[in-house]
Symmetry: C2
Subunit: 437 residues, 2 copies
């Protein structure tokens, strides 16, 4: 398999059909932000406003957001904005003073976990949460070896980028990082659960041959960047057992699947009937406010905590706590997990029905409102057609992206208040585009 | 010198004089947040509100804030809160869509730098900015060696914690990290400028002996955690030249001195008449909103940018841009840099005058509103007396902390709208406490 050398769904400067105003903006970006930044789409979108599941462009166009999992309870949700504004105008200090807010939030958050996962540490980004988890795992196990999937994404710090092969070939796996194939039926034809666990054991054996002790198996519990692999439920449990048998810890990266998105459960790991040693979370946690965290077992943090203090200037500040609490309240009061389950099921069923009429729609892999949809040409996965489809959808005012190591699947991951009418709009648009192929 | 094994100015559970309510809060913290978190002061402060340079406690007490450099333009500054609320209720998306806000902010920020430092990349924390700088320096130089000062603090990611000896002995310098003594007259009796540069060259030579190529010299340009070493101005220029002569880059960590705090200049490196290859910034950048960044030369990012993309989910989002711009506007419109210069000078002069009457006040090291004040007993630096003084000041409603590898200096770093009357209050309180010794 050839690894992508450039980002999926990235704008190529000079190649799109930008308005003179947007062209000027793109040039200013290159001048001010430098060469490492990317825009989405052949023709980037110039946004000025967001509300619920909609994003509005400078030219007045309304786009249906099928991609952004950060504004997970809906863009600019009034209750979240109100909590943010209120706390920011009252107090915005850090965790070295006593404050009620952080405890109210921490306790609410921890109540969403099975017993045993009873501590939470706050960071600002998912990268920081996974990076901290690695430090803690090293202290707890005395090892350094890390197992990730082939096209994983776990962050942009030096340590987590080296655990994130999806960034592209310029970032090599770290010397103690051992990638294993993603849990697809193609990669494990004799059974995903046993095959994936065996791959973990095999990676530990390869570590041992190099004198490396295992510290951590880290997986995004829905394998977002690997192509979305939610099923069969339960397949992760043997893998978690396998890493523990070798003395390592199991970290569930819930940055993408967490906070109700998978519908049936609040956290992705719960679909697999296991209890992780650590759980990292981020993107939707503050509905856009920069906050993330790591939930863990007391025994996991004991060694690290006995020797090292942890302070993150902004992590767990009073505003983050107020925002995080509002997000949890909205998920509950707006019944967003339930909505993800019912609307996600309808979306998945709709895609499967559409596939009966369109040969280019291959496998649909989904849990709640997290859907991977393979795009085919002549029965074979087709990254080029996937990319075209992503851009055609954008031109028809539906924002989406692609996923997988080859980019052969649509990545569908809308804000959770997505409605059945929104699903109909996507399916109708997709049907129209596919008919015109 | 014995390195501290616990954090300066940390609460020891069970040792203070907490109200039953605060005692319960401290217990809930330990239960929910685990063993790695710390509170300030022998008797922690329970805060509920902030305004300007004041913090208000649960029991109604007003504390004068002489410590918090995050809420740098004043706690809950109405213009910053207004910009935050307005943008959060309008749009809060990321850098992969075109948006005017990030460019307006990036261009305003870059206008505060000398020509050549013309790109900015956005992160959420100073840790992330320094971590990214290390990745970029590795790509640009082909080296991995990093030089830091003995008691530096540059972050909490795995890579930056290994560059931050101030965290304590549990975190060892990374295998490619070479600490050198802080730029004090004590460490370099024959001249700080030549001595510090020679230490850089020597560290590079020690790297070479181990087959390590230099990548980076990183210093907080006011050496906050080393004890505050601002003088003589210009002493950093030979050190920057020394690392460049060995093929490495010079990174000015402006997370603490930046944004006008040093009074005479907007950035700490400007006091030294040099142009860094990279400049990291954070804490005061969003006045509490989690945002940070890295400013660099196009030639520094060229190699990294040609091969690697960079995306930080929350970094440079539309709300961060609006908040950052408001902070820059307030610094200008409220003349806060000028205030830091004049009030800082008065504060420093006041401490020096007070020292004429109190033998326990040693050297005052200061630039603007960043002041290190050594505390002595019988002419010798006294960490225990410093700690007592910090707690006595807290009991007299002045919030402050300590710094330096031994913790023998007061760290005075108030919000920038600090007034002459505020200075008088601190000096009067300090005088009263010292008289009672």
């Amino acid at each position: 398999m050839t690894r992508q050398t450039t980002m999926l769904n990235a704008y190529t400067p000079g190649a799109g059909h930008l308005s003179p105003e947007d062209e000027a903006l793109a040039r200013r970006r290159a001048t001010a932000l430098g060469p490492a930044y990317r825009l989405f789409y052949e023709t980037p979108v110039h946004l000025i406003r967001g509300e619920g599941v909609n994003l509005y462009a400078q030219d007045g166009t309304r786009y249906l957001d099928c991609y952004n999992n950060v504004a997970s309870v809906g863009h600019c949700h009034p209750r979240v904005v109100e909590a943010l504004s209120r706390q920011a105008s009252t107090l915005a200090t850090h965790t070295r003073y006593l404050h009620d807010g952080i405890l109210a939030y921490a306790e609410h958050l921890l109540a969403l976990f099975p017993p045993g996962l009873s501590h939470v540490m706050f960071t600002c980004t998912g990268s920081e949460a996974n990076d901290l988890a690695l430090r803690i795992a090293r202290a707890a196990t005395g090892g350094t070896g890390v197992i990730v999937t082939d096209n994983a994404y776990h962050g942009v710090t030096l340590a987590t980028a080296e655990m994130s092969m999806s960034i592209g070939p310029a970032v090599a796996p770290g010397p103690t990082v051992f990638p294993i194939p993603a849990p697809s039926a193609e990669n494990y034809p004799n059974g995903i659960a046993t095959g994936f666990a065996a791959a973990v054991t095999d990676a530990c054996d390869r570590m041992a041959a190099q004198g490396i002790k295992p510290a951590l198996l880290i997986v995004d519990t829905i394998f977002s960047s690997d192509g979305v692999y939610p099923d069969p439920t339960g397949f992760l449990a043997p893998a978690a057992a396998a890493i523990r048998a070798k003395g390592g810890l199991f970290l569930a990266d819930e940055v993408q699947p967490g906070f109700g998105r998978t519908g049936s459960h609040f956290w992705g790991f719960q679909r697999h009937g296991l209890i992780p040693d650590m759980v990292s979370m981020g993107k939707p946690m503050g509905n856009g406010y920069p906050m993330a965290g790591l939930v863990l077992k007391p025994e996991t943090i004991a060694e690290f905590g006995s020797k090292t203090r942890y302070f993150n200037t902004f992590g767990g500040n009073a505003v983050a706590a107020a925002v995080g609490l509002a997000v949890l309240d909205v998920i509950r009061d707006d019944a967003l997990q339930q909505n993800a389950a019912s609307v996600g099921a309808a979306f998945t069923q709709g895609l499967k029905s559409l596939a009966e009429h369109h040969d280019s729609l291959g496998e649909t892999r989904a849990a709640g409102l997290f859907i991977g949809q393979t795009i085919l040409t002549d029965g074979q996965p087709d990254p080029a057609r996937t990319a075209r489809l992503v851009n055609q959808l954008r031109d028809n005012h539906v924002l989406i992206s692609s996923t997988g190591p080859k980019g052969d699947s649509l990545k569908i991951r809308p804000p959770l208040p997505f409605s059945h009418a929104n699903v109909d709009q996507v399916l109708t648009t997709l049907d129209k585009i596919l008919k015109a192929l």
